[in-house]
């Protein structure tokens, strides 16, 4: 803890404060779409960021506040970690003005991520809609880095338009390596240059065969979940093999402030990743 230079009265005591963030240096900042910026960060205290794919961090700029974000890189890549920020409000606007060399303030890792033990040795399907590709990229990279530990790996990605596609370098790579990841993509609305699939994400299920023994991860806008869940039920995938990565309003990230609640569950500590069987009885889970 450093002195903030305010000359104030509060004591710099040794009592742990769960709200105290750690400083992370921006190693790289790249505007990837009109509204999204991709950051690569390194913790300044040298202690690293020891997270699991699917976990989140509260990321902030002083004077503006904090927002919850899923890690967008795999913990197997230990030197640094990635976050993608979409400009939607005051805090994200402030974050997205930052450049290489500046700092973000991070609390985390928080919440519970994907159950990797449950996935190992099985086929995996990831269904990512829009910005849902960011938190799942952590798992995608993890699987790619430890490819032999998993069975068939399929990835569905749906974006609004071709311009909204994220991680375009990754996409180029994934399109080429069918034996590593079977990648299918779609857009809601194409443009002149788009030769691929047009339609909602569930149209991609017709493009491949998903075995009922697949472990499935779903992450996307609130409206997407119930349609994908319906497809998975048709395919016979058991409900406890379906992992949903959910978004809610968050403030504290530590199960206190109440903003993220879905019935009696706290997305920030009990989630953001839930199995469908764990939350299907919760009336507030799906929009």
């Amino acid at each position: 803890m450093s002195n903030c230079g305010n000359g104030c009265s509060c004591n710099d005591s040794a009592i742990d404060n769960v709200f105290l963030p750690r400083e992370a240096e921006i190693l790289r900042a790249e505007q990837v779409t009109a509204s999204e910026k991709h950051f690569t960060l390194k913790m300044k205290d040298g202690k690293g960021m020891d997270f699991q794919p699917g976990q989140i961090a509260e990321v902030g700029v002083f004077g503006y506040g904090e927002i919850p974000l899923g890690f967008a890189s795999s913990p197997t890549r230990t030197h640094s970690f990635d976050l993608v920020v979409r400009t939607v409000g005051r805090v994200s606007t402030a974050i997205n003005k930052l450049e290489k060399g500046q700092s973000l303030w991070v609390r985390g890792p928080l919440g519970s991520g994907f159950n990797l033990e449950e996935m190992r040795g099985h086929d995996v399907l990831i269904v990512a809609g829009g910005i849902g590709l960011c938190p799942t990229r952590s798992l995608i990279q993890y699987i790619l880095d430890r490819r032999s530990e998993f069975g068939k790996f399929t990835l569905f990605f749906g974006a609004r338009t071709p311009k909204d596609q994220l991680f375009t370098d990754d996409l180029v790579q994934w399109r080429k390596t069918k034996d590593v990841v079977e990648y299918h993509e779609t857009v809601d609305k194409g443009d002149d240059s788009w030769k691929g699939n047009v339609g909602v994400i569930t149209t991609l299920f017709a493009k491949t065969k998903i075995s009922p023994d697949t472990r499935v991860v779903v992450c996307g806008p609130p409206v997407m979940y119930k349609f994908v869940i319906r497809e998975l039920a048709k395919l016979g995938v058991p409900e406890n093999h379906v992992y949903l990565d959910l978004e809610r309003r968050m403030k504290c990230g530590i199960g206190k402030c109440g903003h993220c609640q879905i019935n009696d569950k706290y997305v920030c500590v009990d989630g953001p990743v839930f199995t469908y069987s764990d939350i299907k009885h919760l009336e507030e889970a799906f929009a």
Binding site: M1, S2, N3, C4, G5, N6, C8, S9, C10, N11, D12, S13, I15, D16, N17, V18, F19, L20, P21, E23, S35, G60, F62, G63, Y64, G65, E66, R86, T87, V88, G89, S92, W105, G130, I131, R160, D164, P221, P222, E247, R248, R249, K251, C252, I254, G255, K256, C257, G258, H259, Q261, I262, N263, D264, V269, E283, E284, A287
Partner: protein, 347 residues
């Protein structure tokens, strides 16, 4: 637990000595009221303390969890924590509010201990006192009455001729040196017990169902949309029922700049799940907004769920301690848990 006795005539000296030793917070008349409304505030003289109060407007949780609490200070050289508790005595808390403290202690300690609350809690000696006047809307005499108050350091009961003072911790014992306390006789101890038992029968409002019955039925009523609509029809989402509640602990976190525009603070404020934007997120892009509890009925229901069922297991009883503050605070008169419970139980 040792019981002590202090004569009425020695009580004022005790208070004087206590107030001289460290800050004392207790029930006092709310200055803007006509003498019949009370708040917890710093007590500067023995005369100010009103142990005969009925209920405080703002719950005493504000002593540990203030409506606005600074969490961090930031500036050009970084950030620092602002946990800086004051050693103090909180005197005259009714047992139902002690039950609420016990709940908040559990919740702020759960998984990620939040010392912004806990440090204040630890630095404070909590002395409960017997209910001498029962407030109009209280129903603690029936609802959750089997859940015992705990976590306080001492308990003062007004009896004939003085006060019986029971101590439950060293912090409670430490107060003895400030007054002429003697050992309480068995008669005095049983008089105190009678006094506290008798108060339980004085609430005008009563709940006739058990917390377990209510919990089960409430959870099962989640999808009874007609009922929630009916109950919340006149709600204008003001959030007052949350703000006056001793067991509500939702908050918002905000940053603000100081006048110099280079330093500032991160602070939290009480928040209310009944207010419209409580669960709203901006999705950005073409997504616009998603409000996970868009309708007033959904928010009204969420409060009922939190008070009557969601937290019961974790807390060992309902998250409503029956103070009736929300009943008094709600202008359209729909927040009263007794009314809500009776409606839910009717099906």
């Amino acid at each position: 637990m040792p019981a002590h006795f202090i004569h009425e005539t020695d009580f004022r000296e005790f208070l004087k000595s206590l107030i001289a030793s460290k800050p004392v917070i207790g029930p006092v008349v709310e200055p803007k009221s006509t003498g019949d409304k009370f708040i917890f505030d710093d007590v500067t003289s023995a005369e100010q303390l009103r142990l005969d109060y009925d209920v405080s407007l703002v719950p005493p949780k504000a002593v540990f969890f203030p409506p606005v609490q600074k969490l961090l200070e930031f500036g050009p050289n970084g950030v620092k924590s602002c946990i800086n508790p004051r050693e103090q005595v909180l005197l005259g808390v009714h047992f139902y509010d002690v039950k609420a403290f016990d709940q908040l202690d559990k919740l702020f300690n759960d998984k990620f201990p939040d010392n912004n609350y806990l440090a204040n809690r630890r630095a404070t000696t909590v002395i409960a006192s017997s209910v001498q006047t029962v407030s109009k809307h209280a129903f603690w005499g029936s609802f959750g009455k089997d859940v015992k108050a705990k976590g306080h350091d001492g308990f003062l009961t007004k009896v004939q001729g003085g006060y019986v003072y029971e101590t439950f911790s060293q912090k409670g014992e430490a107060l003895l040196k400030h007054g002429k306390f003697g050992n309480a006789s068995t008669d005095q101890v049983s008089a105190a017990k009678r006094e506290n038992d008798a108060a339980m029968d004085k609430c005008q409002e009563k709940v006739t169902f058990t917390p377990a019955e209510i919990s089960t039925k409430t959870r099962a009523s989640f999808s009874n949309n007609e009922m929630w609509k009916e109950l919340s029809k006149d709600c204008f989402s003001c959030g007052s029922c949350n703000i006056v509640c001793p067991t509500c602990y939702c908050f918002d976190v905000q940053d603000k700049w100081g006048l110099d525009q280079v330093s500032g603070e991160r602070y939290r404020t009480w928040d209310a799940c009944l207010t419209e934007d409580f669960a709203k997120v901006s999705l950005g892009g073409a997504g616009g907004h998603e409000n996970f509890r868009e309708a007033g009925a959904q928010r009204f229901r969420h409060r009922a769920m939190r008070k009557l069922t969601y937290l019961n297991e974790k807390l060992g009883g309902p998250a409503c301690i029956g103070c009736g503050r929300c009943t008094s605070a709600c202008v359209p008169n729909i927040a009263n848990p007794v009314k809500i419970i009776n409606r839910i139980m009717k099906g």
